[in-house]
């Protein structure tokens, strides 16, 4: 019988096992009788002899059973049953324990599921641990990949294949109303690198990969199901994507869900693939060759980068490439906040566990006499520990189950409030990984909160059972350990409340930071043309759209820009100034290049500091103008007058410069919620840059939302083949950019509040049981004339003293923890005094309140009743 069989039998087949034994004994007796008869005894004599020989059958059966079932397990099963019965008589204790643990585990499991989905879970691709992103940087500034460098990287033998891709939102036409779909534009050996073969049909040919063949498209499984109901005949069809017919060559397998919201995979167009070495728009991924390691591949690309720098000094000087595992790179932007949230939730869980430990200590105190009696009747210390461990385990199992149920909702709630653009958020779910995490965590917690009572049980003094005085000698020690637990709780809560206060202040700062524009009475609408749309088509559309929008009743002005403020993201280039040598730092510094209609900045209310705004160029006018922001003016023209000077977007040695004359200096417009300082930016006419993704702003007299439908209709009329994106009020669009810090601040706040409540309950519990135990003493004191208010002060003071010690520890923890949060904070430093002081006062107030209730009870003790009671 294997170990597992035995355990199984001991747990669930006890009756069957007993039957087996009984049958074996019966067989033995029968044989003995038969033998006796054979030897010539009468049946009766033989029976009697056999019975005599066999002796007490039940005793043998029992001894045999004890030898065969795993005894400790048997005992533990008994203890578990006993624990369930014992706890069912104490529903208050049981449910407090289960709910604290359940909430803690539920919160932890939810945050872990999201963290795992974002940071650690392997991307659903074959051998995804061999997939590496190649991060390029020039002089330390992050730089996107480009096709010539991709070709260079692909030639490194440490890689079996390499690809570069970028996402593009395209319009699907000819299948009902225009639909926006998400395309992955690839170049290089995309399918070979990702390790994916189409489920049906074929992959791209060499010519198609270069973008020079007939236009082709691979469908994702989900798109195929949605658009073609999974019909194989889709393979012989073509779809109109981005205004061009593309033949469907294959369907990707269902398991290919990376990135998760993808509809189609298409080769990048030939002209995009011909982009120069100076461009930077590709996300480069390579698969390690079978014999390569990350280190060997890193060495190989270091050598390659050195050669590239030599061969292409103009563009590749200062090039440094770093290999980062794909999973890690994907989780990069979410890592810090998610880990911070995970840390917070674990701290809260710890506070909850301490609460349960404290409850179980009370329970142990109640059962002290019972334990003592057991010990004096011969129970081993081990059996006592097992008995207490069983109760902890019952609470742990119930709490963990409740926690996992809560996590099912928790994950969805988190996903609903978190920014949807986190690339792998959709993959977050309560799966076997989060279940394993929760069970492991529960076990750790259970061991943690079971240790104190079990240790106490093991030290139960036997004489206790013999004494009639119910108050044990250990009660002072017990109170001390519970006080220590309360200190831990309050200290941890202090830390959490401080962190929450910092996050709250940071969020408030972020919201009140100057915007540099007036967001009210602005309607916004976005619309994306496909990347290769003819620029004349775009400019004609923009002119018509602006005319039509301005003609709408209630509209004062309409403008267009490449990206909305606070939306984040930007196109950057280093700049060159005509006739000036820039310091190396400035020469390489990325400057935001923004395209807008001439009236954009003035229409959103950005201030003009010097010079004049851009003007619409008339036919034949070739003088290109630019408006720079204040930061750019201060950084590059410190002291000098920038008006009239010329700048070029690109490095000095990057070919024939294209000069823009500076017309004016505008105030800084806030481009991202989390930016700490305003980036240098230059505004040029949208017609001077190629940018097919349009963002319209409409100034209205009244409620901007009232015009939403009219504006959408006007745009749709002008471009019936395009999908008009979100039409919304600017203030609402802005609130979305605060979503991430907001979620984080609320999570921190919620966990801190929960911890604070638990700590208050913990402190209350300690003081309350102290008062109960000392009721007699208090009665005597009062009878002897003690002052009631002095008594009240005494108990409150006891609580405050505990809190003061805990606060000192907690504030220390808070300073340390806030260091870790530093990069998430906005406009508030770690160890910010007002936050710390404010949190400390909150803790003190809560602690006073928690102490006041038991203290008042102590002060109200009626000496007559108490003393008579004894």
């Amino acid at each position: 019988m294997s170990w597992i069989d035995r355990t199984w039998n001991a747990l669930f087949r006890r009756d069957a096992h007993a039957d087996d034994l009984s049958a074996e004994m019966q067989f033995h007796i029968d044989q003995a009788i038969e033998d006796g008869v054979e030897r010539g005894l009468s049946l009766k004599e033989a029976r009697a002899q056999a019975a005599r020989r066999f002796g007490a059958r039940t005793r043998i059966t029992e001894e045999t059973r004890d030898a065969s079932v795993t005894p400790w397990l048997d005992r533990f099963v008994r203890d578990l049953r006993f624990a369930v019965r014992g706890l069912s008589k104490r529903p208050g204790l049981f449910w407090t324990g289960v709910c604290s643990l359940g909430l803690g585990i539920g919160a932890a499991a939810s945050v872990f599921s999201v963290a795992d989905g974002l940071l650690w879970k392997p991307v659903p691709l074959p051998e995804s641990d061999r997939l590496m992103t190649i991060r390029e940087a020039i002089n330390g500034e992050k730089h996107g990949g480009n096709p010539p460098r991709l070709t260079d990287w692909a030639s490194v033998t440490a890689f079996s294949a390499a690809t570069g891709f970028y996402g593009e939102g395209l319009t699907l036409l000819g299948r009902g109303a225009p639909v926006r779909i998400e395309a992955l534009r690839v170049m290089g050996d995309a399918m070979e690198t990702l390790g994916v073969q189409p489920q049906i049909g074929r992959s791209f040919t060499a010519e198609e990969k270069r973008g020079t063949g007939e236009p082709v498209v691979l469908l994702t499984h989900r798109f195929w199901q949605r658009q073609f109901d999974g019909d194989r005949r889709a393979l012989s069809q073509a779809i109109n994507v981005g205004g061009r017919m593309h033949s469907i060559v294959g369907v990707l397998p269902e398991a290919f869900r990376y990135p998760p919201d993808l509809d189609v995979v298409m080769p990048a167009p030939a002209d995009t693939q011909a982009s120069p070495r100076s461009s930077g728009f590709l996300y480069v991924v390579a698969r390690l060759a079978p014999d390569a390691t990350i280190a060997s591949a890193q060495a190989a690309i270091d050598a390659k980068a050195a050669r590239m720098t030599q061969d292409n000094p103009a563009t590749d000087k200062g090039l440094r490439a770093t290999l980062v595992p794909l999973v890690e790179d994907q989780g990069d932007e979410a890592r810090k906040p998610v880990l911070a949230a995970l840390g917070t939730v674990l701290a809260m869980l710890l506070v909850a566990c301490v609460n349960i430990a404290s409850l179980l200590l009370v329970r142990a105190a109640e059962r002290e006499r019972e334990s003592a009696i057991r010990v004096s009747l011969g129970a081993s210390r081990g059996s006592l520990v097992s008995m207490y461990a069983a109760e902890s385990l019952v609470i742990a199992i119930s709490g963990c189950t409740l926690g996992l149920l809560l996590a099912l909702f928790g994950v969805d709630a988190l996903k609903a409030v978190m920014p949807a653009d986190l690339s792998r958020l959709a993959e977050a779910q309560v799966d076997e990984r989060s279940v394993a995490f929760s069970i492991g965590l529960t076990l750790v917690c259970a061991i943690g909160f079971a240790i104190a009572p079990a240790l106490r049980a093991a030290r139960t003094p036997i004489d206790l059972a013999l004494r009639s005085d119910a108050r044990s000698t250990g009660s002072a020690a017990k109170l001390r350990s519970r006080t220590a637990l309360a200190v831990v709780q309050i200290a941890l809560s202090t830390m959490l409340v401080c962190c929450a206060a910092l996050m709250g202040r940071s969020l408030a700062n972020m919201r009140t930071a100057p915007l540099g524009f007036a967001p009210h009475h602005l309607l916004t609408a976005s619309m994306n043309f496909p990347w290769d749309t003819d620029s004349n088509r775009i400019h004609r559309f923009v002119e018509d759209a602006l005319t039509q929008l301005r003609a709408l009743p209630g509209v004062r002005d309409a403008a267009v820009v490449d990206r909305f403020p606070l939306g984040g993201g930007t196109q950057t280039r280093p700049i060159t100034i005509r006739g000036r040598e820039l310091s190396p730092a400035l020469a390489n510094k990325p400057v935001g290049v923004r395209g807008a209609s001439p009236n954009y900045l003035s229409s959103i209310g950005a201030p003009l500091l010097r010079g004049e705004w851009l003007r619409q160029r008339s036919q034949g006018d070739t003088a290109r103008k630019v408006v720079i922001n204040r930061t750019l003016a201060n950084l590059y023209f410190a002291g000098a007058d920038p008006i009239g000077q010329s700048i070029h977007f690109g490095k000095a040695d990057g070919g024939e410069p294209r000069w823009f004359e500076i017309a004016g200096v505008a105030g800084d417009v806030r481009q991202s919620a989390i930016q700490r300082e305003d980036p240098p930016e230059a505004w040029v006419l949208l017609s001077d840059v190629y940018w097919p993704m349009l963002s319209f702003t409409v100034n209205t007299n009244g409620d901007p939302l009232a015009l939403a439908n009219a504006a959408r209709a006007a745009l749709q009329r002008l471009a019936p083949e395009q999908v008009i994106g979100e039409v919304s009020v600017m203030t609402e669009r802005m609130s979305k950019s605060y979503r991430e810090p907001e979620v984080l601040a609320y999570l921190f706040g919620g966990f801190a509040l929960a911890a604070l409540l638990l700590a208050a309950i913990g402190l209350y519990g300690v003081l309350a049981s102290d008062v109960t135990q000392r009721t007699r003493e208090i009665g005597i004191r009062l009878a002897l004339g003690a002052d009631r208010s002095a008594l009240l002060r005494r108990f409150v003071w006891q609580g405050v003293r505990v809190t003061a010690i805990a606060l000192a520890i907690g504030l220390g923890l808070a300073v340390a923890a806030s260091r870790l949060l530093e990069s998430l904070l906005y406009g508030v430093s770690s160890g910010d005094l007002p936050s710390l002081a404010g949190s400390a006062s909150i803790l003190l107030i809560v602690a006073c309140a928690a102490s006041l209730i038991p203290a008042r009870r102590a002060a109200r003790v009626d000496p007559a009743i108490t003393l008579r009671h004894e």
Binding site: M1, E24, M25, I60, A67, S68
Partner: protein
């Protein structure tokens, strides 16, 4: 009481005897007692009260394994057989026993 004494002596060596008896073929509990009785010239009578707990303990220790089989007379009985670990144990215990008995014999001066 004399009987108890004898079985006490037996207790320490019961494992060894059972292992030895089972080395030849799988047997059920009753047959084991009979076989030990026969082989010891009717001297060693194994107590049922010792045998079954010992058998189940040995099963627990993975020295023997048990299965239900039919006897020659077509009745269901629990047959015990040696495991690999049991065979090893038999070897070491036999050696120990021989050493012990020769040592005891030397002390008694009968060797």
């Amino acid at each position: 009481m004399g009987q108890t004494k004898r079985s006490d002596v037996l207790q320490g060596t019961l494992t060894l005897l059972v292992l030895k008896i089972l080395e030849a073929e799988p047997l059920h509990g009753y047959a084991i007692t009979q076989r030990i009785l026969e082989r010891s010239g009717e001297f060693l009578r194994v107590e049922e009260g010792s045998l079954y707990p010992a058998l189940h303990r040995m099963e627990q220790e993975n020295l023997i394994k048990a299965e239900w089989r039919l006897t020659a007379t077509n009745r269901r009985a629990r047959f015990y057989s040696l495991t690999a670990a049991g065979r090893k144990q038999l070897k070491t215990e036999t050696e120990n026993w021989l050493q012990l008995s020769s040592a005891v014999a030397q002390v008694l001066g009968v060797a």
